[in-house]
Symmetry: C2
Subunit: 374 residues, 2 copies
């Protein structure tokens, strides 16, 4: 069962061993000590943390301590806008919104239309920028107000970013980025420069506020290479080191460790209609047995099952999720019924989200950082 | 006499053989055909062209033909702001102003504060940006009005540039820029990306005007690698190829082929006072003989003499320049007298320039492209 796996910011291959991955990257496990500290300030612990979906970090304890001293900090995350958002993408953003609410801190949200353009030979820049605006609706729909959410669309909001990115870029050689990101001789110079821009946002709040304002970055663990570099150079540039909080990946409906943008059936998009959602869930891979009889007798395997994974991600009720887990293992629950339950939860989530999403249309520019600086 | 020489955008070593350099780069010699076409439209030929200081080009004929058809084009050049401007830097800008006046076209002037920061380990970004503002005074002092001169300070005016630079960057691989610019494993990723920004300005007028607006780039021939790349990729991006008009280098007062920023005595700065100018000219290397007696008998060598070079560059009167050349060769002119004559010319030029330069102070932002776009 110990298959090989590969994780880079651009690729996840094989079945991921998350403990091994954390060790490879050199991040630290989220322990009870950090969770308790978080609970002390937030008053509760978010299910995504409680359930171990966010499971590793760098300096989360340090930023909570900093918070305890009454000092300013900010949240930062991002999205590569190459197509519609799927509900899996929403998961870390839900935590982001929770953190912003509980701690009262600003969110810097980077839409990396440039990176998606650099990385995909087929992608036109205008298309990536269009997706940045579209995807921004999904972020805003979470309920952010413009004073708390600062959107950065790289090609549109480069101005405050570039001087910081320049300082970052001067610290990073070809050798370093080649080794860190696996670049080759035929990598284009846009993609080579791009890490400077992703790292720059980590230092932006300090520049804007004129005093040390570290960021906490909740994101999937494949983004660690960027922020490891950011941490390596932060102090030499006079910025505080960013802290990170890493999640596992969202399983594909097909059962792979991470969804693939190239297979639209592997994910449920926030713009999917009910019929499509129903079909996608109906066709999803499961941890179930070939026949109902076998399932009753031997039970299913929720640990490799995307249907269970989505119950875990989208059902806030711990008792309900645990019940699904155990009824699956015991054979009391069959996949058809389990999928029907999931459909109801997702349908409700998406319906509400789509309404909020449409209300955000035409409001994106008010959230853009540039509109607030000019 | 056929010494080795090396020319890159960052370094000139040895005594430059300009014909060989042009052939190495693959540029074309400026012939009577182009000069006549230029004269047809401009009504005259500028001394710097007549005297062969501008001596090579790419597609100058094509852009003049385009002009003849009543189609729009623009001028583009730039400066790496790493210190005060010397009067040698002014020389191509004088031609730039002449071209802008004679053809009634706009000038895009890029101040590459980012590049100077990337390239010089000791340079702080804020310092390079400060020099960009300082150097802009020297450009404006030539008499440009804000409707004709568009200043682009890279770190300040990146916004209209970045989307174009992104498209350029996607076309250029590490392999290509390594081979073109001699980058190494320890080159920083800022400098690696930078060619995209220098090339992007060549395509900016087309974007801003919404129709094909090629540029003519008057600059020193060491900038050819950038614009060769620009020409290679222009059509695949839907932009017209930039044309170029190449000058030789300005001789150092020490006699080398090109001035070195590290030796302040090798150049006269536009901010030097009269005493300093007098001293620098008095100490200049010459093509003269060790003694007056020998000079009278054998004559001097104006072809290797920076004093003659500056007469050629700054005296608009052909007869006067020719007289100096021949009197030097014949031994009729001694270096002391020749230097005194040069001092008078430079003193006058610098005095007038310094007055115009001070009038430009606090007006720089009105010339910046961003101030016109917002
Ligand atoms: S019962 Fe539910 S959790 Fe168990 S294998 Fe089937 S779909 Fe997955
Ligand atoms: S006379 Fe003038 S041109 Fe001739 S060598 Fe002396 S300084 Fe140079």
């Amino acid at each position: 069962m110990d298959e090989e796996f590969v994780v880079t910011p651009w690729e996840v291959r094989g079945r991921v061993d998350y403990q091994k991955l954390m060790q490879q990257f050199g991040a630290r496990p989220l322990t009870q000590a950090e969770v308790s500290l978080l609970e002390k300030y937030a008053g509760e612990v978010h299910p995504l943390i409680r359930r171990g979906f966010f499971y590793a970090h760098r300096d989360l304890d340090a930023i909570l301590k900093w918070h305890g001293e009454g000092k300013p900090w900010a949240l930062y995350t991002g999205r590569g806008p190459s197509g519609p958002v799927h509900i899996g993408h929403m998961v870390p953003w839900i935590l982001l919104k929770w953190l912003s609410d509980k701690f009262g801190v600003e969110v810097y949200f980077q839409m990396t239309d440039d990176e998606k353009f650099y990385d995909d030979p087929e992608m036109r820049l205008e298309e990536a920028t269009k997706w940045a605006y579209e995807n921004a609706l999904d972020v805003i729909a979470l309920g952010f107000t413009p004073d708390k959410l600062h959107l950065i669309i790289d090609t549109k909001d480069i101005k405050p970013l570039y001087p910081i990115a320049a300082k970052v870029a001067k610290k990073l050689t070809w050798n370093t980025v080649k080794a860190t990101f696996g670049f080759t001789d035929s990598t284009n110079i846009g993609l080579i420069f791009y890490p400077s821009l992703q790292i720059a946002v980590a230092f932006l709040p300090t520049e804007l506020h004129g005093r040390p304002t570290p960021v906490l970055i909740p994101c999937a663990i494949d983004q660690d290479p960027y922020f490891r570099l950011a941490r390596d150079i932060a102090e030499s540039l006079g910025y505080p080191k960013p802290a990170t909080l890493y999640s596992k990946f969202i399983m594909a409906l097909t059962g792979e460790s991470k969804m693939s943008a190239s297979n639209p059936n592997s994910a449920i998009y926030t713009i999917d209609d009910e019929k499509t959602i129903r079909r996608k869930i109906a066709n999803a891979y499961t941890g179930g047995r070939p026949t109902a009889e076998e399932q009753r007798r031997l039970g299913g395997n929720p640990d490799v099952c995307p249907v269970y994974h989505y119950h875990m991600l989208f059902d806030p009720d711990d008792a309900s999720v645990e019940k699904i887990y155990h009824s699956c293992k015991s054979g009391a629950l069959l996949c058809g019924e389990c999928k029907q339950m999931l459909y109801e939860k997702i349908r409700k989530f998406v319906k509400q989200h789509q309404e909020a999403r449409e209300k955000a249309r035409d409001k994106v520019d008010a959230y853009r950082l540039s509109s607030k600086l000019s």
